[in-house]
């Protein structure tokens, strides 16, 4: 008998198409799996009753021969997407009780295509973190453990709840957002696929803003084909987001199996880090060998400003965050700390409402934008960004995609890096450059660390060329044949 929560998203779709299973049955299996996964703390809000209603409606549409490309398929939503009538927290105390009166464009697109909402997933506060430990609602625990060691591991972040649920088979797919690696790094840590589309591919309207020139929604799934299906449903031009690209949405599943014969794959020599575990380099070499064996041509390229990407990011992202988070003032929504004085009310509300990492980043952002420092920090960083973009542009004159590791290590234990902000920031060293330049990039699970934990390889492609990226990712996935399961898998 088919265990429903073991099906991939596409397998579940096909089973629904053939009438072998109903959305109600599939959704019930994922509700049970979600309940069994509660020790992971992956949901901030479960919406299981709504899921049952949406599943019944999807079954009715299917019975009438109607329905979209995700009709009846359950998905989990990072709690950074505004959902009408459902608590939306950004994992921050300052958004206490916020129930949006509107729906984000990306989630509206999912519902238009018939998807069923399982719930709102946990994340780092305002998506600021790489371990899901900065959430006001507590950390998320990874379903993975080091063999023979029962210390909880982090699922990565900031889309940690989404990654943990997909890895634990408690959601067939989830959506997240990626500002500097927040989809790709947790996907790598959790042994799943995570895709950050080209900036502008998915609308940011209704997504709680962190850094507006970097934020981009994308899917987390168990395999590459599922990511293609999710992206097709999520993407599309949106007049409500002025940076949303007016480009057509292809069927990303088309040609996914076409192979990589003749594809030119760039290997950037600067993607190494002092003290990086040798297994990361070994896996990268293995990835190169896999793609070559499949017919791709690999060649070394230089992205010479790579080492400056992370410090550039840690000026640009906090600067944008300090502006975006100015709206949390205790007046229009969320938490208000009482005071008889308006200025004091603002300061108390924000003092009490923001956690330590958010406070740190807002203060850094305020400092680098303040009079006398703006040119030295912010303009300097935006100039570096131009240079980093130039590196990629030159490289993509020669190659079709770029292959790198996703993260410089496997998952670490909870608490292991929480006292070391810069050490934590280094998690994003390989994901930030493509974020700064708006390029599509994705992580594919490719192997295990010496400790038995998943490691991912990253593919980066030209703007709006997710089709080629997915084709390469599919070949990489087939060669890697990653089929290791986490220690915890939810029983439905």
């Amino acid at each position: 008998m088919t265990v429903l929560n073991e099906l991939t998203l596409v397998e579940a779709r096909d089973a629904l198409d053939r009438g072998e299973v109903s959305s109600a049955e599939l959704t019930e299996a994922y509700i049970s799996a979600g309940e069994a996964s509660r020790p992971l703390n992956a949901y901030i809000t479960e919406t299981f009753e709504r899921a049952r209603e949406m599943a019944a409606a999807a079954d009715a549409r299917r019975a009438r021969g109607e329905g979209g490309i995700l009709e009846g398929l359950p998905v989990a939503i990072k709690d950074l997407f505004c959902t009408e009538g459902v608590l939306t927290t950004a994992a921050s105390h300052i958004l206490d009780g916020f129930v949006p009166p509107y729906e984000s464009t990306v989630t509206a697109n999912l519902w238009r295509e018939g998807a069923v909402m399982l719930g709102k997933t946990n994340l780092d506060e305002f998506a600021m973190g790489s371990s899901n430990e900065t959430s006001y609602y507590g950390p998320v625990e990874s379903p993975w453990q080091r063999p023979g060691d029962n210390r909880p591991l982090v699922p990565g972040g900031s889309s940690g709840g989404s990654a943990a649920l997909v890895a634990a088979r408690a959601a067939p797919a989830a959506i997240g957002t990626d500002t500097g690696g927040s989809i790709r790094q947790p996907a790598a840590f959790s042994g799943i696929v995570g895709l950050k589309p080209t900036y502008g591919r998915c609308s940011r309207w209704g997504v709680v803003a962190f850094a507006s020139s970097l934020d981009q929604p994308g899917p987390l799934t168990r395999d590459v084909r599922d990511a293609a299906l999710m992206l097709r449903a999520m993407a599309g031009h949106d007049e409500k987001d002025s940076t949303s690209a007016p480009v057509p949405v292809p069927n990303f599943e088309d040609n996914i199996e076409a192979g990589v014969k003749g594809l030119k794959v760039g290997i950037p020599r600067e993607y190494v880090l002092d003290g990086m575990p040798p297994e990361i380099d070994t896996l990268w070499r293995q990835g190169i060998a896999w793609l070559e064996a499949a017919g791709a041509e690999t060649r070394e390229i230089s992205l010479k400003h790579t080492k400056y990407a992370l410090p550039t990011y840690y000026i640009v992202a906090p600067a944008e965050a300090s502006s975006n988070l100015a709206r949390y003032d205790g007046v229009r929504f969320g938490l208000r700390a009482e005071s008889g004085d308006l200025g004091e009310m603002y300061e108390r509300t924000r003092g009490q409402g923001f956690g330590a990492e958010v406070r740190r980043r807002v203060l850094i952002g305020t400092y680098v934008l303040s009079a006398g420092y703006y040119d030295a920090y912010y303009i300097k960083a935006q100039k570096l960004r131009t240079l980093i973009a130039g590196d990629f542009k030159s490289a993509f004159a020669e190659v079709d995609v770029i292959l790198t590791p996703t993260a410089p290590s496997a998952a670490f234990a909870a608490g292991e890096k929480s006292d070391d902000p810069i050490g934590m920031y280094l998690n994003d060293v390989f994901t930030v450059p493509s974020s700064l330049t708006g390029l599509p990039a994705m992580s594919v699970p490719a192997g295990l660390s010496a400790e038995g934990l998943p490691l991912g390889l990253q593919l980066i492609a030209k703007p709006f060329d997710e089709i080629t990226m997915l084709r390469a990712a599919f070949a990489l996935e087939a060669a890697a044949g990653f089929d290791v399961r986490p220690g915890f898998v939810a029983a439905a």
Binding site: A326, V331, R350, K383, L384, T437
Partner: protein, 95 residues
């Protein structure tokens, strides 16, 4: 560069975030570490380089300046912590 307590207090005030006095010194240390680390950008000569203004090569769209939305004050106000009588309410600012 080390940020002293007065500077941290000034930045915190600019950001409208109350920071207890007892946390100023430690916070100054954390912020200084981050600023020292980003200082490495000074190694690169960026004279004559244009700062990035847009991450993808698209022209921002324009539209007619018309009212296209609104007319539901109760929805706008539904999340306000101190809302009253169709307005956002704040502590008194004029005597």
């Amino acid at each position: 560069m080390a940020l002293d307590e007065a500077t941290v207090r000034r930045i915190a005030h600019l950001a409208r975030i109350e920071v207890p006095d007892g946390e100023l010194e430690a916070l100054g240390g954390e912020l200084s570490n981050i600023l020292d680390w980003v200082e490495q950008l000074a190694e690169i000569d960026t004279d004559g380089i244009a700062p990035m203004a847009s991450v993808v090569e698209i022209v921002l769209p324009q539209r007619a300046d018309e009212i296209t939305d609104g007319g539901y004050p109760e929805k706008v106000l539904q999340n306000a912590p101190g809302g009253a009588k169709g307005f956002f309410a704040v502590p008194k600012v004029v005597e």
